[in-house]
Symmetry: C2
Subunit: 239 residues, 2 copies
DNA sequence: AAGCGCAAATATGTATCCAAAGTCGAGGGG
DNA sequence: CCCCTCGACTTTGGATACATATTTGCGCTT
C-alpha cells in the first residue's frame, strides 16, 4: 500500500526520459518490468513454487499492476513461470525430466541448425569462430570460468546469428538458451565442464570446415547432449 | 465509439455465466478474445499487413482493451502476428521462405518425436493408428476430403498424445500445427496430397512396427517434407 | 502551388477502479 | 473436540480514465 509516492516518482522520471516505448532509447515500463522479473527468475532469486503476486511485485518496482500483469503473462507463455492452481504464478520446480526435455529439444534444434549453417558458412565466419574458441581457451588456462562462459556464449551467439533470417528457428533457440541459463550457472563452476564445452566447439568447427551437413548435425547433438549431462550432474549434486 | 451499450450487455451476460476464469466451465474474456482472434487469423479473415488496432477489436468484441491487448501479446509471442513499426500489430506476410521455415522446424521436431515414440509405443497404440489410417482411406475412397483431413489430424493427435508428458515438445508441436492450418486449408483441396499424406502415415506405422528409431526419424522427416511441398505448391498456385 | 509546421484525432501505455472469486479464519453446531 | 459454514480480506480479471506519442491533414507562408 501507499506505493503511490513511488509511483509518482518513477512516473515523473519515466516521463522525463521517454514516456512510452520510444523504442530507440528507453524501455517501456512493461519491458523493464519483464526484464527485471526475468533476470530475477533466471538468477534464481525466487525459489521454485514461491508465489509471485502481481500486487507485491508492482509495489516492489513502484509501478502499477498493469505492466506487471503483462510481464507475468509473457513469462508464462515462455514457460519461465507457471500459473498456480489457486492464483498467481510461481517458478516451476524443475524436475530432472524437464531439464532433460529442454536439452533434448535443444539437441534437435541446434543440430539441425548447424546443418543449415554448414551449407552457408563462409571461411571468414569460421575464422571468427576459431578466434572465439582461442579466447575461451586462454580464459580457461587462466581459470577464469566466468570468462570462458562469456566466450562460449559468444560462440553460440555467432552461430545463431547466422540463422537470424530463419526467424522461427532463431527465436526458439534463443529462447531456450535463456532457460538453460538457470542450470548453467551451476554447471559453470566446474572446470571439467568448461573444457568439454570448448572441445565440443572445436569439433563443431571441424565439422563445419569439412562441409559435411550430416556430421555437423551429429556433432552438435553430441555437444548439447554433453551439456545436458553436465547440467544434470551438477543439478543432482546440488540436492 | 458508443460501444458502451454492447459492453454492458456482454458484461452482464458474462457475469451471469461465470465472471472470471472459472477454469472448468467458461472461458475468461481474455481467453475468448484470444481464441476469437486466433481463429480469425488462421481462417485468413485479416489480410497480411492489415493493421490490427486494439480499440477497434475491443469494440468489435464488445470488451475492453485490456483482454484484447493481452490476447495480442500472446499472439505475438506465438508468431501469429507481429508488431508494426509504428504501432499496432498485423498478420505477417507469409513469404515462401517463412512457410518453408515453419515446415523445416516441424520436420526436425516431429522427426525426433517419432524417434522418441518409437521407443515407448505399445502394440495396442499401433493398432489404433492403423485403425485411423483405415478410416482415412475409406473417406478418401468416398472422396470426402474434409473427412480425410479429420482422420489425418486424428492420426497426428494420437502420436502427439504419446509425448504429452514431454511438455515442451508437445506444446511446440501442437502450436506449430496450428500455424500450418493456415496453409493446409488450401492444400486440402487436392486428392493427390491427401493420398500422399495417408501413404506417409502407413510408412510411419511401418517404421514404428520395426522399432527402428533412426528409420522413424527419417520417415517422419520425409512425411513432413512432403507436406511442405504440397503446401508450397498450393500456395504458389494460389497467387 | 508546394512545403513546412502545427493542431487535432487517434492509438497506445500506464494507472486506478470495481466487481467477483478464492482463501483463510473465527465462531458455532454436532 | 472436530468439522462445517459464513464472512471478511486478499487478489485477480476486466473496465475505464488519463497522459503521451504518433500520424494525418489542413492552413499558412514563401
Amino acid at each position: 500500500m501507499l506505493s503511490c509516492r513511488h509511483t509518482f516518482k518513477l512516473d515523473t522520471i519515466m516521463n522525463g526520459i521517454s514516456s512510452a516505448r520510444s523504442k530507440k532509447n528507453g524501455l517501456s515500463v512493461r519491458e523493464k518490468t519483464y526484464e527485471y522479473l526475468k533476470s530475477n527468475i533466471l538468477s534464481g532469486r525466487f525459489t521454485a513454487g514461491e508465489r509471485l503476486a502481481e500486487e507485491h511485485l508492482a509495489e516492489e518496482l513502484g509501478v502499477s499492476r498493469t505492466p506487471v500483469r503483462e510481464a507475468l503473462h509473457k513469462l508464462e507463455l515462455e514457460g519461465l513461470i507457471e500459473p498456480l492452481e489457486s492464483r498467481g504464478f510461481c517458478v516451476p520446480h524443475d524436475s530432472p525430466e524437464e531439464v532433460e526435455d529442454l536439452f533434448d529439444l535443444r539437441t534437435v534444434l541446434e543440430g539441425y541448425t548447424l546443418k543449415l549453417i554448414c551449407e552457408r558458412i563462409t571461411d571468414e565466419q569460421i575464422e571468427r569462430l576459431e578466434g572465439v574458441i582461442g579466447k575461451a581457451e586462454a580464459s580457461l588456462r587462466r581459470k577464469r570460468i566466468d570468462e570462458v562462459f562469456q566466450w562460449n556464449t559468444e560462440f553460440h551467439d555467432i552461430l545463431h546469428g547466422m540463422v537470424a533470417d530463419k526467424r522461427r528457428f532463431h527465436n526458439l533457440i534463443v529462447n531456450m538458451r535463456k532457460y538453460v541459463l538457470r542450470y548453467r550457472k551451476d554447471t559453470l563452476q566446474y572446470l571439467g565442464a568448461a573444457k568439454r564445452a570448448i572441445d565440443g566447439h572445436r569439433q563443431i568447427v571441424l565439422a563445419l570446415k569439412l562441409k559435411d551437413p550430416e556430421l555437423c548435425e551429429r556433432v552438435m547433438r553430441v555437444h548439447i547432449r554433453q551439456a545436458k549431462e553436465d547440467a544434470l550432474q551438477t543439478n543432482s549434486e546440488a540436492r
